[in-house]
């Protein structure tokens, strides 16, 4: 369990298409889902938490556990490299010039961990390949393994399996769930698919039109459907 405390406003400066996002909530959770239709701000939330958005556009604070990640009133803004928040994006973002092994080892806890996670995820056969030689699903697995190898307080997964076929998706979701539970690493999981959220998350944030429409334990959200 980890304590989240977020309060921020985000306003894009693009005059033609302005987007405003507002969050103000705290909760405890292990795997928290962020659920909503496209355009509701799900990915924007994660990007703000990761520090990918320009700090001039954000106003508010984000506390993770007992650490202040950012607090614009007190001018605190941790750089990305110090936030200790791992990221599994939709498009894996593997380093194209390195092999799978090197990608996994980029900033891993230790090399023995690399070997053990590789075998856990069935990646050992791919270790000396380059990302360009992998399939989409394999790349996402590597991205996930890489994220788990880096010292972090939180893992943010942004629709990591949305581009995969159903069978593989189910397989990887199962793997993800067991791994997260066994490691105890808290996670934020973004998705627009109800079945993914129901199967994985214990707590849920429902987003709509740039605001949190509802949040609470997954079991309490009865009208959960695909969006």
């Amino acid at each position: 369990m980890i304590c989240f405390d977020m309060y921020f406003d985000y306003q894009t400066s693009d005059k033609q298409k302005s987007f405003s996002l507002s969050m103000n909530l705290s909760w405890q959770g292990h795997i928290t889902g962020i659920y909503g239709p496209s355009g509701s701000g799900k990915s924007t939330v994660t990007e703000i938490l990761l520090g990918l958005k320009d700090k001039l556009l954000v106003c508010g604070r984000f506390n993770l556990g007992d650490r202040v990640i950012f607090d614009t009133e007190r001018s605190t803004w941790l750089p990305r490299s110090r936030r200790e928040i791992a990221w599994v994006p939709q498009d894996s973002l593997l380093l194209p010039h390195l092999t799978v092994a090197a990608n996994l080892a980029v900033n891993a806890f230790s090399t023995s961990n690399v070997a053990s996670i590789a075998s856990e995820f069935g990646l050992t056969a791919l270790m000396s390949k380059k990302p360009s030689q992998l399939s989409g699903g394999e790349k996402q697995l590597v991205a996930l393994a890489r994220a788990l190898l880096v010292p972090s307080q939180l893992i943010i997964l942004d629709e990591p399996f949305s581009a995969l076929d159903t069978r593989r998706r189910d397989q990887y979701l199962g793997l993800l769930k067991t791994t997260l539970q066994s490691r105890g690493t808290p996670a934020l999981y973004v998705s627009h698919r109800a079945d993914e959220i129901k199967g994985l998350c214990d707590h849920l944030l429902v987003m709509g039109e740039g605001k949190v429409q509802w949040h609470g334990p997954t079991t309490a959200w009865s009208t959960l459907t695909d969006l």
Binding site: S81, E84, P89, D91, L94, P96, H97, V106, N107
Partner: protein, 224 residues
């Protein structure tokens, strides 16, 4: 030693020093201009790219002033080496530096721009400090483009003439580069030397430009 060999050695010295300095100075600058925005950035870029459009002789005249014993470059060199800067091969190198600087800067900026920022952000979220990220992610991905740019700058430095004659004169064995040597041989009616030098110049230029193109051809970053 034959005239041709002497000119080749001078040209290679000049081009090597000029390219080295340009790469070291312009690479971080190119990075900064690609990734940061600030007011008046277009002005700064315009000024830095100026030597691309100025006639080399005009640049030569300005450099002549700067390299004089009272000028900023002349005084610096005097302090460092106890020798006058004008009419030395180092002066030819400075002229070549100024001329090829914008060429490399443009190529470097394009190389850095082709590295997806998201990749860099990803590396940072994994705990790599901006400096380590630059070495492990940005630089390797931009390396081919930077190499191609450096070769192009070297080729330009090899061929530099107008500004060079102004500030370095044409002392055989010291400041007579290939380009200057060709010019002098033609002026002195020495066709044999002129053609020998021209052939060597052509070969060096072909090597440099082909190598440059092959590097940039194979540098496509596949979006993964």
């Amino acid at each position: 030693m034959s005239v041709v060999m002497l000119s080749v050695i001078v040209s290679l010295k000049v081009a090597l020093l000029a390219t080295l300095v340009v790469v070291i100075l312009a690479t971080p600058l190119a990075w900064y201009l690609t990734r940061r925005n600030f007011t008046g950035k277009f002005l700064v870029e315009g000024i830095l790219l100026l030597p691309l459009t100025l006639p080399p002789v005009a640049i030569g005249l300005m450099l002549l002033m700067l390299m004089s014993p009272r000028g900023i470059l002349g005084r610096f060199w005097l302090a460092v080496s106890d020798k006058p800067l004008l009419l030395s091969w180092q002066a030819a190198a400075v002229a070549a530096m100024v001329i090829s600087f914008p060429l490399y800067l443009k190529a470097a900026m394009e190389s850095f721009a082709s590295v997806p920022q998201r990749l860099e952000s990803m590396a940072e979220t994994m705990g790599l400090s901006p400096w380590r990220c630059w070495w492990k992610v940005t630089l390797p991905l931009a390396a081919r483009g930077l190499g191609a740019g450096a070769l192009l700058a070297a080729a330009r430095a090899l061929g530099e003439f107008g500004a060079t004659t102004m500030v370095a004169g044409s002392i055989p064995g010291e400041t007579e580069t290939l380009a200057v040597g060709i010019y002098n041989s033609v002026m002195n009616g020495d066709e044999y030397t002129a053609w020998s030098l021209a052939t060597v110049s052509l070969i060096l230029a072909i090597i440099a430009t082909i190598a440059s193109r092959s590097l940039s051809h194979y540098s496509a970053i596949r979006a993964v």
